[in-house]
């Protein structure tokens, strides 16, 4: 076996992956799902912000985010202990607590990462145990010339900011704005010339969003009209 491979044990299963791989990626590549939102393959320093991909590693204190750890030979990893599940469920509950949980009215219905995680963690998409606390700001932010942002759906994973930052020729870049609970994605600079044209062609942020918090305004309008039509036709029946 070459030195470039590392062998480790995940939930009792031995896996062999290239040295330098992030633990989360190693697990995903080997069919071991760990919930995650803020990680994208190829990130050098993942933000480690969603706090869903926590795992336990024997010999190390506390849960650690698997997205930010490199695999090591002989590592013994647990991804599904009760303690981890409780933490993940709490994180999930917190993430959905800003949102209404009305999936059928959302463009990302059925392809939303939160729906997948909900199933995996056996959690409802509408929080019961915690209060529903929407962010203290408009539900829909239309600052960008052609992209809408739904603040309460947003899980602040930052993927959109990451992929936008990689478009070196973009006339402006997404970033975070605000503080604390009211942190949002900022479209500061999107009023610059050329933004509408550039973003209409790019769409990387929309594609990267795991929850459908970003969408082209046109698409969203069309989707809303469709919803209206469906509602009308249901009413007729």
């Amino acid at each position: 076996m070459s030195d470039d491979m590392v062998v480790l044990t995940v939930d009792g299963l031995e896996i062999k992956v290239p040295r330098g791989t992030k633990l989360l990626q190693a697990c995903l590549d080997n069919g071991i799902y760990i919930p995650n939102l803020c990680y994208l393959e190829g990130m050098e320093r993942p933000p480690s912000s969603c706090r869903l991909c926590l795992v336990e590693i024997e010999g190390r204190p506390g849960p650690v985010p698997s997205c930010s750890l490199e695999v090591e030979n002989g590592m013994v990893v647990h991804t599904s202990t009760d303690a981890l599940r409780r933490l993940q469920q709490t994180a999930f509950r917190l993430l959905v607590s800003t949102n209404s949980g009305k999936c059928s009215l959302c463009m990302a219905n059925k392809r939303c990462e939160m729906q997948r995680i909900a199933k995996f963690l056996h959690m409802p998409l509408r929080t019961k145990r915690l209060r529903h606390i929407p962010k203290d700001m408009p539900r829909i932010i239309e600052e960008h010339p052609c992209i809408d942002y739904e603040s309460n759906k947003c899980v602040l994973c930052g993927r959109c900011i990451y992929v936008c930052g990689r478009q070196e020729d973009a006339p402006f870049h997404l970033d975070f704005a605000g503080r604390g609970f009211n942190t949002v994605i900022s479209f500061f600079g999107s009023e610059l010339p050329g933004v509408a044209e550039y973003c209409r062609d790019c769409g990387a942020c929309i594609a990267a969003c795991p929850v459908g918090a970003l969408s082209y305004r046109e698409d969203r309008q069309r989707f809303l009209q469709q919803l209206e039509r469906n509602k009308a036709s249901r009413a007729r029946k």
Binding site: P46, S48, C50, P63, L87, R129, R179, G180, T183
Partner: protein
């Protein structure tokens, strides 16, 4: 100066002139007036005091030297003035405003006849006539290592610092070389004063051993804790000591770049430090070839724009790099890969200020102070309901009780002690039963509080601990960078629950949820802001559970603080007929006259501002506060009939 002379010799040459100046100041032929003129002194009016001294001296045609010094840490006594009149010991005066300054000139400085006992605090030196500062517990129990010269030297004068032994630590370090400096700091067991107490020597060793070059040292002067100001005071009162520590750190790890990160809300600190940098460069204590040693360093000041989280080291680095101040996952630690990916040592202002003293006096001397696990001193900014608030420097290991009751004079106005909140906004609240806790990193953490950067709020029995927890969580929630789920959303839920409890809308299940959610936030958060934010909640739940229960079960606030759960009424027995002192102060006109021409409060209109409590003359003291509001007794109040009211007018 010969080119081969050692750093120590070069420094000794410089010191000669400095000591000459110092002698003139300390064996004065004309009176010397020292005025504390750091931010705290200025806030208390020291600029007016200085102007008044200047004016009065000019009017009287008197000669005296005015020296603007930094802060001694005695906030309760500002503006502080020390007068050294030839033939007298140096005498300290408290609360010297413009008027007192005039009196001091006219009575004392004029001819030395009357040293104005009425404003005198004490003499700085033992003598037969005046009480000395050592007669006060505050001075007796304090141990000044870091703040030794604060308030006694002119921060704008490099010579003053040289005269008190400044830069000798650096000269020694330059001669000893990197490896032995690191060893000395390791031997001293110096632990970082920025909050976590990480061993400084080990941090330096990691960076020194890192293979990448160039390396960077950063002094963390962000000091975002509300109510904490020791770092500001050090930078304003003795900037060269901070700078000397920074240069030694750079030497130790082999850094060629050094930064001082100071929050922009500290303009005087920025100015003072910048002045010190310029002066040090001019005298060859900074620059290409420091004291002829061949070691070179440039220092720059970076002004942070004031976010609490930017004090966290990885966020601080982001902020210097021009990014939003958001903490990053560690490892890699900055000592391995920090600013621009370079090995970077970040140390707190107090940590760096301790370094020159250790280098000068040796690790063995340092280890005699404090405890085995945490040698040295701790500086706290003690605020709240104590008799003598301010900055205090005490040896590590003294108990909280000692600090509060002896050093700070106990609770103001003889009220009972209730709690002390230690460690800044995410510190814990400890009750009287925990006052035996020694002050050091490990003991405080065990008790559920933390050293933090040294904020301490002392509370008397009028503080509601639920409200206190709500207050601090509100702060940390607002200052959360918004990056990770637990901190951004979790603390918001803690806040929502606490808000409901303070309004009497909480339930016992909410207490359970507070506990569970707090534990998750501690476990799950990315950086220490989130990992410590629940401390005020957990400690108050643990030590003041009864108070939470009173709020949720009886809708009662035992401390009579939570507005929704209290009511004011006027005790008709105590109220004086015909007096209407309270009426005008009420912003909502809720106070009316009763049929027997006393006063009563219309609960519908009352907004519970409490103004009437202060307006009511102390000889009647008739306004009462109760919780829950239903506790207002039935006093059979009838409003004065309209017609009678007309008559009265």
């Amino acid at each position: 100066m010969s080119p081969e002379s050692t750093p120590s010799q070069r420094l000794a040459d410089m010191r000669q002139a400095a000591e000459e100046q110092w002698r003139e100041l300390h064996e004065p032929e004309i009176p010397v007036i020292y005025v504390g003129n750091a931010t705290c002194g200025r806030a208390a009016g020291s600029q007016e005091t200085i102007a008044s001294f200047e004016e009065s001296l000019a009017e009287k045609g008197l000669e005296a030297r005015l020296v603007k010094v930094g802060c001694l840490g005695h906030c309760y006594a500002e503006p502080l003035v020390i007068i050294h009149y030839p033939g007298y010991p140096p005498l300290m005066y408290q609360k010297v405003g413009a008027g007192e300054a005039r009196v001091l000139v006219n009575s004392f400085l004029k001819d030395g006849s009357d040293p104005c006992f009425e404003y005198l605090f004490g003499a700085l030196e033992p003598n037969d006539t005046f009480p000395t500062l050592m007669d006060y517990p505050r001075y007796l129990f304090e141990k000044r290592v870091i703040m030794e010269h604060c308030g006694l030297i002119d921060p704008a004068s490099l010579d003053h610092y040289l005269a008190v032994g400044g830069y000798q630590g650096l000269a020694k370090a330059l001669e000893a070389g990197s490896r032995r400096v690191v060893q000395e700091i390791k031997d001293a067991h110096l632990r970082g004063r920025g909050g976590a107490g990480f061993p400084t020597g080990i941090k330096w060793e990691i960076a020194a051993n890192a293979s990448r070059h160039p390396k960077v040292v950063i002094c963390n002067g962000d000091e975002g804790d509300p109510g904490a100001y020791m770092d500001r005071t050090l930078m304003e009162s003795n900037p060269h000591q901070v700078l000397e520590g920074l240069i030694i750190a750079a030497l130790a790890i082999g850094a060629s770049r050094a930064l001082l990160y100071i929050r922009a809300e500290y303009p005087l600190a920025v100015e003072t430090i910048q002045q010190a940098i310029d002066a040090a460069r001019e005298r060859g204590l900074l620059g290409a070839d420091i004291l002829g040693s061949g070691f070179g360093l440039e220092v720059e000041v970076f002004q942070g724009s004031g976010a609490f989280v930017c004090g966290e080291e990885t966020a601080l680095i982001q902020s210097i790099q021009g990014n939003r101040g958001m903490p990053q996952y560690r490892p890699p630690y900055p000592a391995v890969a920090g600013l621009d990916g370079l090995p970077t040592v970040i140390n707190n202002v107090k940590t760096l200020s301790t370094v020159p003293v250790i280098m000068r006096r040796g690790s063995n001397w340092f280890k005699q102070i404090g405890t085995e696990n945490t040698p040295g001193t701790a500086i706290f900014s003690v605020v709240g309901d104590v008799e003598y608030p301010g900055l205090v420097e005490v040896p590590m290991g003294v108990t909280l009780e000692h600090l509060i009751t002896e050093v700070c004079g106990g609770i103001k106005d003889g009220k009972p002690f209730k709690a002390v909140q230690i460690g800044g906004p995410s510190g814990g609240c400890l009750p009287a039963s925990e006052l035996r806790t020694p002050i050091d990193f490990d003991s405080l953490r065990q008790a559920g509080a933390m050293m933090g950067s040294g904020g301490m709020v002392v509370m008397n029995d009028e503080a509601c601990m639920v409200e206190v927890a709500r207050y601090f969580v509100d702060f940390t929630q607002n200052e959360s960078c918004g990056k990770c789920t637990f901190c951004r959303v979790g603390t918001r839920h803690l806040l929502a629950i606490l808000q409901e409890i303070t309004k009497g809308e909480g339930s016992e299940e909410d207490l359970e949820e507070l506990q569970v959610l707090s534990e998750s936030i501690i476990q799950g958060s990315l950086c220490s802001l989130g990992k410590t934010a629940p401390n005020p909640v957990l400690t108050t739940l643990r030590f003041f559970r009864d108070e939470y229960l009173a709020h949720v079960r009886e809708k009662r606030c035992p401390a009579l603080m939570c507005r929704e759960l209290i009511a004011y009424y006027i005790d008709l027995e105590a109220c004086a007929r015909g007096c209407d002192a309270c009426v005008a102060c009420c912003p909502t006109e809720a106070i009316f006259t009763t049929s027997n021409r006393k006063k009563a409060i219309d609960q519908e209109k009352c907004v519970k501002c409490g103004e009437c409590v202060y307006a009511c003359p102390p000889e009647y003291d008739a306004v009462r506060k109760v919780s829950p509001p239903e506790m207002i007794p039935d006093q059979g109040i009838e409003p004065l009939a309209e017609t009678e009211e007309e008559d009265e007018k």
